[in-house]
Symmetry: C2
Subunit: 488 residues, 2 copies
């Protein structure tokens, strides 16, 4: 296992790919654009899933499962939606193969052509709202609060492990409500759930905001987003929650009888996060030695390495420590593989981002101590064996907090308030990061800024005071600053 | 909500469909053969998943994720495998839609034809072994013990909710080993894991056996199966575990260097259970009043209903009971909906198969008791409020045991040892169930018996003594009895 990874300074993109591959998180498959999520990567994703799923259920949602395939005609029913997804669809046209009459191998059986083509779901609003039509008759059937964990396919031309892949894993919540306000509240609530998860578990600060019209989800009235800053200063959209208005209810004719016996169209939301979060996690914390994981999402929180190798006495002490940590819900691994040297193991677990490493040798035992190494700061120090599990529990919390604080500081350092167009261009080019600037609210200005600088409006932050100003590009009046950045 | 369901005696198939629909487990979707798994059905499936996943991890497996799509050429690499799956594949041929130049709506963009068609995975041996090729170099890389939870598609012509659907959810384990014996042991171990889960959690007795050659998985050397008997006496294959020999290693050229520095092909297994288990669960225990769930898989284990409706005193008592049960890990629901009468609620939770129902009214409070109803036996009795949570905990165990015992008895009553061809035909026609009979071991005989009677060899049981006998059909010598039955 070659440990060397490209440094961030040398080539940030290559650094990212090196980490994904060398920490065993994912790899490209034989199918263009589709990835294999390897066991270590999947273990992290499972921890994310478990936490998110818990939060969805705590907020009253239930899971269900809807078909992988969407009839082509469904996609066309919501005009903006089909525009957004038609150009990147996997289309199923046949349902059988046959032996090639002219040779070996198999070919598509022309007699098995489908009457109507099926699209592999790029998102499930259409098939779900077609189903909800039968489930919703009265206000008593509302709200409907459903989530599904699923794979989806968007035929992206340029792909990148976790960040943009043709197939990815995600969850998609699809809710139905009797009133507009309730649907808006739901969309905002799920944005809050995502933000809380990102900050508390991923140790990744996010800005909660609204998308501008041009960046909105295809078919939504409003898209609530959480935006994070990666180490290179670029933005990453980490999760979105859409207020869909009555668009899908109208497209699929989903009406309910309200308390006054009147028929109304149903109000909707949808919201999702995906395996893209894995990319965000990697790029928020990792360094030139490998992956850095926040303790709350680390499959192995503490690795214990015998120095120079395991023996009966060391193993007994280690097993006691493991039992104590297990009782606290802390996961450990005792690596007593005799074929590898301690130094090799140190590098290996650094690559894997294990938050805390303990090393225990004869001398440590004599001193009643253990050597502790933090993955985040790379500090090493000794701690007494007595009370070690309490100390480690505290240390894991410190590491979690430190990673979050570091990311907060990084974002603060790389967020610049700009008021002129020269400044905008100069900061974007020389420093990068987030630019907080006034914008006149028009798509035209947004488009021009994007053309010239490649920066887009990441979001219109929700938690900010109104402020009179002038658009950084057009000079027209503006009441709010928005966040511009180059983005993944 | 219309409660009436067709009785089993009247029409067993319709009874099954009625339960699936009226208990809100699943329904047909707008896509032929694909089902929607509704929230209540999905909650049961999630409980199954959690238990199975725990067992997989306890036996050393890790989860990962492989692509949904399989290049057409991969499927052809293992001859038996392609024969088994080519006739029921969803084939992706294009990756884009476009606006119809002749009208409204969208059509497949002919310019976006894929160079090589992609098959939506019917099972993942081929894509996974193509990946393992890069992961396995030396004996040190073995064993590889990987599972994935995924959706798969098999274009079945006749579908039935849960039992046979074009898309279904499952898990598929794919393991790689250095020796033949280790792979066989793994395949058997997973058969044991499935059997233990089926009996302990689903309360569904199973026979562990080997499949005959003609019923084996396409590409396997041996298929280990667990076979259950449904209430109509028909067999249901509930899970299979395959010893794949070196077939896929040879097809994808996966070799490893053994401890003596020699190259060898890798040995393989694969094993899976699917949402079909939901069908098995329903048909093992349910009755003419609706679903019956074993307590260990019931999303709601205890429902509590106020008589005639909730008031402050009743609610206080109920909340105390709920807290005590929660502390024991028992899930409850307190249904204080004032719009529904108690009798209506009783029927509703019977339909949903909730194992225990408590009813509490003023008189019960005065007596210090609560009325308890068991879903399995429909017995009703009073229990003192004092110590109620201990009593319910015990009752749930009793219900779990009773359901299992009832299923064991049903199977015993409907399993017949037959020794002549007349007896075979008569028993199959008049009584049905499992027939334990001698078979000469030839495919020819198996095929003829199937043609004449529609019964197939469900399995060659593993735990049975050798016994000299004569084939029930051909009269040729046989050393073992096998299980014949009509099957789902």
């Amino acid at each position: 296992m070659a440990k060397e990874i490209t440094s961030r300074e040398e080539d940030y993109s290559q650094w990212y790919i090196d980490i994904v591959k060398k920490a065993g998180l994912a790899e490209n498959s034989a199918v263009r654009g589709c990835m294999v999520i390897k066991p270590y990567g999947f273990a992290i994703w499972e921890k994310m899933q478990a936490q998110l799923d818990k939060r969805f259920k705590e907020t009253g949602h239930v899971n269900a499962y809807f078909p992988l395939f969407i009839p082509k005609s469904f996609l066309s029913k919501e005009a903006a939606h089909v525009d957004g997804f038609a150009k990147e669809c996997a289309v199923v046209t046949h349902h059988r193969l046959m032996n090639d009459p002219n040779g070996t191998g198999v070919i598509v059986d022309p007699a098995a052509k489908l009457e109507e083509e099926l699209i592999v779901r790029p998102t499930s609003e259409t098939i779900i709202w077609n189903t909800y039509k039968d489930w919703i008759k009265s206000y008593r059937d509302l709200p409907l609060l459903i989530n599904q964990w699923a794979n989806v396919v968007r035929w992206e031309m340029r792909t990148r492990l976790f960040l943009r892949t043709a197939e990815f894993l995600w969850q998609e919540g699809h809710t139905a409500h009797a009133t507009k306000q309730e649907a808006i509240d739901e969309a905002k609530q799920m944005q809050d759930v995502y933000a809380e998860f990102a900050e508390t578990y991923m140790a990744m600060p996010v800005i909660k905001g609204l998308k501008s019209d041009s960046e909105r989800f295809a078919g939504a009235e409003d898209t609530y987003t959480i935006e994070a800053m990666m180490q290179d200063g670029k933005a990453l959209q980490a999760g979105t929650s859409h207020f869909l208005g009555q668009n899908f209810a109208k497209a699929f004719d989903v009406k309910f009888q309200n308390q006054n016996q009147k028929e109304e169209y149903v109000w909707a939301t949808s919201w999702g996060v995906s395996t893209r979060l894995m990319g965000a996690l990697i790029m928020t914390h990792s360094d030139d030695e490998g992956l850095v994981l926040p303790p709350k999402l680390a499959p192995i929180q503490v690795v214990i390495i015998p120095i120079p190798k395991a023996n009966g006495v060391i193993t007994e002490v280690v097993e006691n420590i493991q039992a104590e940590l297990k009782a606290k819900g802390i996961s450990t691994k005792y690596d007593k593989d005799k074929k590898k040297q301690p130094g090799f193991k140190f590098a290996e677990y650094e690559m894997l981002g294990v938050p805390v490493r303990l090393a225990i040798g004869k001398r440590d035992l004599a001193n009643g101590t253990v050597e502790v190494a933090r993955r985040d700061t790379k500090e090493k120090f000794n701690l007494p064996l007595e009370g070690i599990s309490d100390a480690i529990e505290k240390l894991l919390e410190e590491i979690q907090d430190n990673l979050f604080q570091k990311a907060i500081n990084h974002r603060a350092e790389n967020t610049t308030t700009v008021d002129t167009w020269d400044e905008f261009q100069e900061v974007l080019e020389k420093k990068g990061g987030f630019l907080s600037a006034h914008w006149d609210g028009t798509e035209e200005t947004e488009e021009k800024i994007k053309e010239i600088t490649k920066a887009t409006i990441r979001c219109i932050p929700l938690d900010q005071p109104e402020e009179e100003g002038k658009c950084v590009f057009s000079g027209n009046p503006s009441k709010k600053r928005v966040i511009f950045a180059k983005a993944y």
